[in-house]
Amino acid sequence: MTTTERPRPAGYDDHRPFWDGAAAGRLVVQRCTQCGAVRWPPRILCGACLSPEVEWVEATPTGSLFTWTVIHHTTLAGFKDDPPYAVGLVEVTVAGGLVRMLGGIRGCAPSELQVGMALRAQFEVVDDGALVNWVLVGDDERQET
């Protein structure tokens, strides 16, 4: 990859189910089949019971903004035209618990972001994987859900 291209997911094997899910518009995270604890980032063993038995379960692709940064100075050439852009952690509730996921935060000016804002996952297929960014849920959308 040339230095002006955006870094794309490297596509490590341990994360493959996530890419397959995202490419199909599904948000999936790991859940222990022994004790039911959900986890993110992906891990080899369950943090609660150490079981290696894992399934990838689908989460409702919505969440709330936990924290974020607005990046004005990037050291990645592929992002040099993007600032200011927001990257944040989003709390997603899954059957069995809650995980925090990281992605771009879109849909409003970065200066208007607030903790707890409702967000919805936006899937974008790239190369062998997929990006999952988060966009603000509009007022009309929120009434429906």
Binding site: H15, P41, I71, V87
Partner: protein
């Protein structure tokens, strides 16, 4: 683990040395390392070739570099400590183990880098723990620097506890005021006002320019030995009363932490205090790994200098500046002296305890806490005393 005093006072700091700190050293990192090491040996009153222990930094000067360039006769102890910016303070723990066990007699702890004129610290792709996760789930969203990651922690604290930009600014101004009294600081002649702080360009909000540490060239070195040998040293020796390292849950990623503000220091602190038999209220000052303004506040909280959530108020009104209630980073720290990976904090603590700091000397200085932070929250705390 509480009450374990086993390594209390196992280490004496007998020599410290620094090169000039600059934006462009014009020398290689190895040359800077040699200069700082010789200065530390001179300060200690030993022949540098008596050094038989070395504590290399994961991405820095190697044991082989130092053996070759300092003509060390033999090195019998040289573990690499991979804790990023916490490695310098954690190094004191490894030195304590080796000295108590008789594995080495004189241990050299050094840092040397061209952090400004070399490959720019801020331009390189961040490397460290959890690389596969970062490559798949962080880099593709344009997140790759420590400042961006730690800004996430800062924002959370601001939301949860009402910490303000003015309180972050109080940290920046205190460091600058300390640096203005320290001729070795890169920012010695550059003052900073709250107006300048608040209007500086944003980097990774909430962080703006003056929330971020310096990029700098230079080297620092410290020579460590047993308290027995220290009696022959040239200067009054400084003892490491207690030292501990700690690592956060989900150590390779900020995601997956039940308590988003818990860091390695959170658990290291109680062990270090217990070993030393001292507490935060016994300290005359602290040298805190100030990679960013909020991380200074966070570590003051997690080390126990104030309850969590009260760090913003703790640093207000010049309280951690010169002449303040509790001075922090009297050399100017990473924010305003130089970024020598926190070893400059150990050097400053030693000099304050010896009473050598001239205009910035603390009126009373019997004990100083030194923290380290690296790699997404690995932490260390050491308590140095006279």
């Amino acid at each position: 683990m509480s009450g374990d005093v086993g390594l209390r006072d196992a280490v004496a700091v007998i020599g410290v040395g620094e090169t000039e700190y600059s934006k462009r050293s014009g020398q290689s990192p190895v040359a800077l390392a040699v200069e700082a090491s010789l200065a530390a040996a001179e300060d200690a009153g030993i022949d540098i070739r008596d050094v038989d222990g070395f504590l290399p930094y994961a991405s820095g000067i190697t044991t082989e570099d130092m053996m070759a360039n300092l003509s060390l006769r033999q090195v019998t102890f040289a573990p690499t400590i991979r804790m990023g910016g916490a490695s310098a303070v954690a190094g004191l723990l490894y030195a304590a183990l080796a000295l108590r066990a008789g594995l080495a007699s004189y241990i050299l702890l050094l840092r040397a880098r061209n952090g400004s004129s070399g490959p720019r610290v801020g331009d390189r792709r961040s490397t460290g723990a959890g690389e596969e996760f970062k490559e798949d789930f962080e880099l593709p969203y344009g997140l790759n620097t420590p400042g961006q990651r730690y800004a996430l922690m800062c924002r959370h604290h601001m939301h949860r506890y009402g910490t303000t930009r003015e309180q972050l600014g109080a940290v920046a101004l205190a460091h600058r005021a300390h640096a203005n009294a320290n001729p070795t600081a890169l920012m010695y002649e550059r003052t900073l006002t709250m107006e300048q702080y608040l209007t500086a360009r944003p980097i990774a909000e909430p962080y703006h320019l003056f929330d971020c540490c310096l990029e700098s060239d230079g080297g620092a070195a410290v020579i460590l030995t047993t308290p027995d040998r220290a009696r022959d040293a040239r200067r009054p020796s400084v003892l490491v009363g207690g030292v501990a390292e700690g690592h956060p849950q989900s150590a390779d990623s900020l995601l997956g932490r039940d308590d988003f503000l818990e860091i390695g220091l959170t658990t290291a602190a109680s062990r270090a205090w217990a070993m030393a038999g001292l507490g935060p209220s016994d300290m005359d000052a602290a040298m805190v790994y100030d990679c960013f303004t909020f991380q200074t506040i966070q570590q003051l909280e997690e080390a126990g200098f104030c309850p969590r959530g009260e760090g913003g108020a703790f640093v207000e009104d010049g309280a951690i500046g010169p002449g303040g209630r509790f001075p922090v980073n009297t050399h100017g720290g990473l924010l305003s002296q130089a970024h020598i990976l926190g070893l400059n904090h150990v050097v400053e603590a030693t000099r304050q305890l010896r009473g050598e700091c001239g205009d910035r000397q603390l009126a009373r200085c019997d004990a100083v806490a030194v923290t380290g932070w690296g790699d997404l929250g690995d932490g260390a705390l050491a308590i140095l005393h006279r």
